[in-house]
Amino acid sequence: MNNSADKIIRLENIVKSFDDEMVLKRINLEIGDKEFVTLLGPSGCGKTTTLRIIGGFESPDEGVVYFDGKAVNDVPPYKRPVNTVFQKYALFPHLNVFENIAFGPKLKGASGPGLTAKVQEMLELVNLKGFEKRSISTLSGGQQQRVAIARALINEPRVLLLDEPLGALDLKLRKDMQLELKNIQQRMGITFVYVTHDQEEALSMSDIVVVMDNGEIQQIGTPEDIYNEPQNAFVADFIGESNILDGQMLDDYYVSFSGMKFRCLDSGFLKHEPVDVVVRPEDVDVVSPERGMLIGTVTSVTFKGVHFEIIVDIGGFKWMIQTTDYVENGSVIGLYIEPDAIHVMKKSEFSGMFGDYSTFSEEMEHLSDTEEPEEE
């Protein structure tokens, strides 16, 4: 609590409704100076609204937004020390690249060679040297994205807000831009608040990931924490692949699921407390049936390049397992699970919503990953 001095933004009990629908239900969030914080969640979870409240484009119905310890609820966007990279860039079509980037400094009275040099520096930063005179409509999506970033960064904001900035780019470009953004953030030493529905993007770029759903924060943590120690079934399901099983805590360090008893590293639960158990597909070893802790039948094998993705039916529950060893479809195999591969979670409102992989299909995965339409 005494480190709140280096927290640049604090949201306290933020509530926001649109047309009687509560999109944010008491959000409490602290963002540290120079941190890369990602708000991650599915469409409609409230992440964009949270960002817009920080930017000043929406005002909360309840709660307080603090910048450097001062309440800024009534401060309009143009007076906040933040700049935004908008979802679909929102570049000014009647201005060229130079004029777009120079927009902010010009408002503050910058002009002449000083301004030109600053714009040049920004263009260099985003790899768009020589594009000054180009009109916005002649730029590709990736180039427009870079102009949008330069236009925001030239104002030297304390905090840069990014609203799904890479959503409209193709995969390859997206990966490159992820690296570039991370580099820029570290080089310039400013706080990034980044909104995305892409969990991979969130894990690879962020210092802190804030997982949201239903207008509530589900978990705040480092990417490793979020992946390895999900707090509930929603987080476990949303971040990466996971087998989420119904289990029971037998005692400290002992949990039962799938009719078997396993050693685990979790403690502090009640005796016989019902729990959710997460096992990541890559943490399961495929062994011969005799050596297996669980025995099942392979119902599908998909080659993924680095590994095979196999679906194993164990007592009617379909497990997803990633293995580098080839197994025959239809064969009976054993599964071996190390204690540290088992993660036990308290039951939550999400328990039972995310089952096994019986209905899993590649198509569904892509559907949920495609760019969402204008959210909120």
Binding site: Y78, V82, N83, H94
Partner: protein
């Protein structure tokens, strides 16, 4: 194989398109191109249909040039007033909530459903020496003032009749204005006034250009308004055409129309250049 097939498809499609466009094409030829040719033909011929430049020359005499200048002056004034009233009106209508917008636009268009003559007559009733406005002024001890048969009355008539043509195109572009650009500008440090000046005005220029044309062109060629509200004291180019027409001098009427048309075309061309430049960022800072 496939390439020839796709080629065939595209040929049939373009044929189909041509057939679909045919009625419009014939309509355009019959009612636009042929009449224009007639206008040009009459302009350059005399009563015996012999080629002559006399009609055109007659236009460039002080008599007609004075009329032209007066028409331009009054039309420009009317256009400017329409812009000054219409732009804020369009802006505020576009910013009210969508349900109210429909009603407001209805109200703007309502007078257009009434006959043009009746609207002009209504202004006569309002403006005459013993009219409603003078009655009110008199009771306040200011009036009566001479309002009928002045240039002001003519301009008022033009503004009243053509104001919707200014509001509608600007309104339509204002509703399409990208709200994210407004947010972006405000994010970059624009206060509301700067947002208006740096984003909304430049974005709405195409609507302004078409509004200006839609008001200026009918204003400059109007004849009835000046006759009724100007009492014949402010003879405009439209009146000149009508007079020539009524006195059966179709050739002179055609010549005036023809020259006016060329002048308007030249004007539009300049406007077009102007709007192109501004959308490229040339004119607006």
């Amino acid at each position: 194989m496939t390439s020839t097939r796709t080629k065939k498809v595209s040929v049939t499609r373009s044929l189909l398109q041509r057939f679909a466009a045919a009625p419009y094409f014939f309509w355009a030829v019959l009612f636009i191109v042929i009449p224009l040719i007639f206008v040009a033909y009459y302009s350059f011929t005399d009563r015996d249909f012999a080629f002559t430049l006399e009609n055109i020359k007659a236009f460039f005499t002080p008599k007609y040039l004075t009329i032209l200048l007066r028409s331009v002056k009054l039309a420009l004034l009317a256009t400017l007033i329409c812009l000054l009233i219409g732009y804020p009106a369009a802006y505020f209508i576009a910013r009210t909530d969508p349900k109210k917008q429909k009603t407001l636009i209805m109200l703007i268009m309502l007078p257009m459903w009434m006959n043009f003559l009746i609207r002009t007559y209504a202004w006569m009733v309002l403006l005459q020496d013993t009219g409603i406005i003078n009655g009110a002024l008199e009771s306040l001890g200011i009036g009566p003032m001479r309002m009928m048969y002045t240039e002001g009355a003519v301009v008022v008539g033009m503004v009243y009749d053509y104001l919707p043509y200014m509001i509608l195109p600007i309104y339509s572009i204002m509703t399409k204005l990208d709200h994210r650009l407004v947010e972006a500008a405000s994010d970059l440090g624009c206060n509301p006034f700067a947002v208006f000046r740096k984003v909304i005005v430049p974005q709405s220029l195409p609507g302004v250009v078409s509004g200006v044309m839609m008001v200026f062109v009918p204003s400059i060629s109007t004849f009835y308004i000046s006759r009724k509200l100007g009492g014949g004291n402010f003879y405009l180019i439209g009146d000149a055409i009508e007079t020539q027409f009524n006195s059966n001098n179709l050739h002179m009427a055609a010549a005036i129309s023809f020259v006016l048309m060329l002048l308007l075309l030249a004007g539009m061309f300049v406007m077009d250049r102007f709007s192109d430049n501004s959308s490229g960022g040339g004119l607006m800072p």
